[in-house]
């Protein structure tokens, strides 16, 4: 196996691990509630005004 093949194999394995980590985090019990939160919060996004932001203002206060 030449160095280029080892490099490609390494990159492939790293990408696979990154993907596995994303899946594990997304479906972790700890992340469950937070992971589903955006689908509820997007339902009332029609007005961005201060009185009706529809939830937490986490940035740019």
């Amino acid at each position: 196996m030449d160095s280029a093949s080892i490099y490609y194999l390494g990159v492939t394995l790293i990408l696979f691990l990154v993907f596995a980590a994303i899946v594990a985090r997304t479906y972790s019990r700890k992340h469950r509630e937070k992971g589903e939160e955006p689908k509820f919060r997007m339902m009332d996004d029609d007005k961005p005004t201060d009185e009706n932001k529809g939830g937490r203002d986490v940035r740019r206060k």
Binding site: I22, P38, R41, P48, R56
Partner: protein, 467 residues
């Protein structure tokens, strides 16, 4: 800026209207070239020939109608999901002008025969350079809006939007690398099989980053808005997103099966293409499960009908596509009329149905009015559905017949049919395809009339309120 809502929505109106204009051009030219195939005497050299008009059809459809609408809805959706106004409405206005200039230049230069001979990357370097400027302006504005967002987490549509911005930039820059020899001519920076490999890495990922990720962003936003019920699972949509992103970029070489590119590249592309069924169908199931307890809305809510049929066609498309990427099946249907049948199920069935729903949803809201006619929207739905099904099904049947004839051999191994014999047998299918195109065009005209009257109604009401 539309101050009442606090979002920069005037620019959304501009993009929606212009995308509809280019969509009409795409379908008009598409119907005309379908007649040119059925009746070759309708070719008028040099400008009005199939060879010149076909890339105008695809560019107006994919870039004028598709990208124009995506720009509109990315701006619309991003502002709402970040609960902040667009970073720079002025930049977006410049983007709208540049967008229309680019599409008009594309139409003119392609009609003049300036063509790089790369499918979906036909534009010569001066116009392609303007596309790069256009995309940078667009990407900066959307990314900066996301950066200053007021929401901690990003809804799935924003992930698909970001993927589109990055993906298109990378694909376009790499595949358009060329050495200009004059203002109207350039040569690809790559040679031979490498050039073909780069082209189809781009070509198939144009399907990914233009005809998949943007409509998914729009679908995930407008389905819950239309039904009033959140999507089934946000976490499933996130995993499906990352699966799609990890897999899609490897699939391009399935366009080069049996071609002189390395065998392992073809096999890799084939493997990843089949694996893509999983994330694609995760989105389809997410759409279907979101309808749990809401299926009655298919009868009652015309928007839901467009969206659910759209995601259904996406599901069918993402089963048919991987099937076609398998060597044996590809050997049979490649270079036949099966392929335009497949492509138009995606563009007319999936992408356009979702875009129609998004336009029906947003235009009344942007103009503070109601849709002019729901019955007309239903007529529109059935006409475009019928037209598209006639188009796709006739082309699949034509493709199978063509493939069978092209592959038929005599006992001594010689071909049983000449190429021209296979062509002559296809005329009835081409006539039916042209008919399907006319029906689709009729549906599109009903849609445009409905939207025109809705906008007119909104303007009249606004004028009455001011008075």
């Amino acid at each position: 800026m539309n101050q009442q809502e606090g979002y920069a929505d005037d620019i959304v109106k501009g993009f929606v209207i212009w995308s509809m204009v280019w969509g009409l051009v795409a379908v008009l030219v598409g119907v005309f070239i379908s007649f040119q195939i059925a009746f070759p005497q309708l070719n008028f050299p040099p400008y009005l020939t199939y060879g010149r008009l076909r890339p105008i059809h695809t560019n107006a459809g994919i870039f004028g109608w598709g990208i124009g609408s995506f720009m509109a809805f990315f701006i619309y959706i991003t502002q709402r999901l970040t609960r902040t106004s667009l970073w720079s409405p002025g930049l977006a206005k410049a983007q709208l002008w540049l967008f229309n200039i680019v599409i008009a230049l594309a139409a003119v230069t392609l009609a003049m025969g300036m063509n790089r001979s790369k499918e979906y990357a036909e534009l010569e370097w001066p116009v392609a350079s303007l596309v790069v400027v256009l995309w940078v302006i667009f990407a900066v504005n959307i990314v900066m809006t996301i950066v200053k967002r007021r929401e901690e987490q990003m809804y799935i549509s924003l992930w698909y939007i970001l993927a589109t911005l990055v993906g298109v930039a990378v694909l376009y820059l790499v595949n358009n690398a060329a050495i200009p020899v004059s203002l109207t001519k350039s040569y690809s920076a790559y040679a031979g099989a490498n050039d073909a490999n780069v082209q189809w890495w781009y070509g198939h990922n144009a399907v990914a980053m233009v005809l998949t990720t943007p409509p998914l962003a729009i679908f995930y936003y407008f389905l819950p808005k239309a039904t009033g019920v959140p999507i089934y699972s946000h976490r499933m949509s996130v995993v499906a997103f990352w699966s799609l992103i990890f897999m899609y970029l490897w699939t391009g070489a399935h366009h080069l099966l049996w071609a002189p590119v390395p065998d392992w590249v073809q096999t890799l592309a084939m493997g990843f293409s089949v694996m893509l069924i999983a994330p694609s169908w995760a989105a389809v199931f997410n759409g279907y499960f979101s309808m749990n307890g809401q299926w009655h809305q298919m009868r009652e809510n015309y928007l839901v009908k467009f969206l659910i049929f759209g995601i259904t066609f996406y599901g069918m498309q993402t089963l048919q596509g991987p099937s076609q990427s398998i060597r044996t099946f590809s050997a049979f249907i490649h270079f036949t009329d099966w392929v335009p049948g497949h492509v138009h199920m995606g563009t007319l069935g999936w992408v356009s149905l979702v875009l129609f729903a998004a336009i029906y949803y947003t235009i009344p809201r942007l103009y503070h009015t109601e849709i002019y006619s729901i019955p007309l929207a239903n007529v529109h739905f059935w006409l475009v559905l019928t037209g598209q099904l006639i188009f796709s099904i006739t082309m699949w049947i034509a493709g199978v017949q063509q493939a069978a004839m092209l592959n038929a051999t005599n006992p001594d191994g010689s071909l049983h049919y000449s190429f021209i014999e296979t062509m002559v047998e296809l005329y009835p299918y081409w006539h039916m395809r042209a008919l399907g195109g006319v029906i689709y065009l009729a549906g599109l005209l009903v849609f445009l009339y409905n939207i025109y009257q809705t906008i007119n109604g909104g303007k009249t009401q606004a004028a009455a309120q001011r008075a």
